[in-house]
């Protein structure tokens, strides 16, 4: 159905972005395909052994109301619980948020931090790629005409791991991130040394950013303020924000550091249990 209309077809999941964009005449289409009836896109399966498979059309509330996800992927729950208000969470999906490819998309950094990958189906078959490679620019993603993001796959959480996402907004809800940071950490069995970490940033570049240097420099370091500080500095270096009505570039770089520290503190606390 999608392939028939090429670029003039779009998929409808929760509709919380696309209906607004259509109404605002941001683009014109011939066909809007409701994908909520597609079983694979509504799949939600989660276990400590298999990890998490999240259908691209699964609305946010199903994530944060799921006890297993809450215990295994609390970082993802953070993001699902702060998108829009309750009404939005009743419809909006993580897959839709990713396809919308907004630099400030609130769920994308935590997908990157958790090492999630995208399962894409299309006329030429299926392919899988890391979330950090999915967005290509503001509102742009790798999907070709007729291709569809079907699901997101999360690896099983490692022992002694924890993750957190937070953003900075002027209000306390119902706002777009001025900047956001996601962090996941895996600790050694001593629970004081970082084995590995992944840090990602929102709203500080044309796409959500995987802050590789900040992530890598943490490996083998103590889970302490000094390390967080170093990672924050590296995250700031990775940020390439613009100035707009939501914040200046200087403010956003600064916030990238502040939020990276805060995300790491909480992620480590969670990993330490």
């Amino acid at each position: 159905m999608m392939a028939e209309k090429g670029p003039k077809a779009k998929a409808l999941a929760g509709g919380t972005d696309i209906l607004v964009q259509l109404r605002g005449r941001r683009f014109f289409i011939d066909r809007l395909v409701d994908v909520k009836g597609v079983p694979e896109m509504n799949e939600l399966s989660c276990s400590a052994e298999e990890g998490l498979t999240l259908g691209a059309a699964v609305p946010c509330y199903r994530i944060y109301e799921d006890d297993t996800i809450q215990s295994l992927y609390s970082g993802l729950v953070d993001a699902a619980f702060l998108i829009g208000g309750i009404q939005i969470q009743g419809r909006a999906s993580v897959g839709g948020n990713l396809c919308n490819a907004s630099p400030s998309g609130d769920t994308i950094p935590i997908l990157i931090a958790l090492g999630a990958s995208c399962v894409i189906e299309g006329p030429k078959g299926s392919r899988t790629l890391p979330v950090e490679d999915f967005c290509t620019g503001p509102g742009q993603n790798v999907l070709q005409d007729g291709e569809l993001l079907v699901a997101l796959k999360f690896p099983p959480p490692a022992a002694n791991s924890g993750a957190h996402y937070l953003r900075f907004i002027p209000r306390n809800e119902m706002d777009i991130a001025v900047a956001g940071a996601g962090a996941s950490v895996v600790l050694e069995d001593d629970k004081e040394t970082i084995k590995s970490a992944r840090i990602s940033l929102a709203a500080v570049g044309p796409t959500p950013i995987f802050a590789e240097e900040a992530s890598e420099l943490l490996a083998g370091r103590a889970a302490s303020e000094g390390s967080f500080e170093a990672a924050a500095e590296a995250a700031k270096a990775a940020a390439r924000p613009i100035s707009d009505m939501r914040g200046t570039a200087k403010q956003r770089i600064h916030l990238s550091g502040v939020l990276t520290k805060r995300a790491l503190r909480e992620a480590v606390a969670r990993a330490q249990g």
């Binding site: 209906l19 607004v20 409701d34 208000g85 309750i86 939005i88 009743g90 809800e173």
Partner: protein, 164 residues
């Protein structure tokens, strides 16, 4: 004008057959097709909650759902909140707490509060404020609305205890 689509749905307990265009939102269908104008449009982009309705038990903004998506769903709007012979405790509480001024946001708040309190009548102030953050009110400063919802929750908790 584009072709109309037949939709079968259930609104406030009544089966409804309707015709709508594929581009019409559920909000437009309620207001313009069914003349159920209790659900209000405040922004038409999911940022004010005035058009809140409950679809299959889930609180949503009806401006962000298409009318055709209502097929097979159960929908509750403000018109379906009161009982046949009296007000819902949330409505009564809004009146007694003077929790409305101009009243345009009131249907959305009452529907949102119903979606919360029917599952969590004992929700505390923090939970109520968080739940209602998707509903804007410009008149009251929220103080009396939050009190009304907390009071209604107490009434509903007592009622459900006495029923069980």
């Amino acid at each position: 004008m584009s072709k109309k689509i037949h939709v079968q749905t259930n609104i406030n307990g009544l089966d409804v057959d309707l015709l709508c265009e594929s581009r019409q939102s559920l909000l437009e269908v309620l207001r313009d097709v069914l003349n159920m104008t209790g659900t209000k449009e405040g922004c038409n982009d999911g940022n004010c909650g005035a058009c809140s309705v409950i679809v299959d038990g889930r609180l949503i903004d009806s401006c962000l759902m298409l009318g055709v998506e209502a097929e097979g769903k159960e929908i509750t709007t403000i018109e379906g909140v009161a009982y046949t012979h009296g007000l819902h405790p949330i409505q009564q509480s809004f009146l007694e707490n003077a929790a409305l001024q101009c009243g345009i946001c009131t249907p959305g708040f009452i529907v949102a509060a119903k979606a919360l309190l029917e599952n969590e009548p004992e929700a505390d102030e923090g939970r109520v404020r968080h739940w209602l953050a998707g509903n804007l009110c410009r008149c009251t400063g929220y103080d009396k609305i939050v009190r009304a919802v907390l009071d209604a929750g107490k009434t509903m908790a007592t009622q459900s205890k006495s029923e069980s």
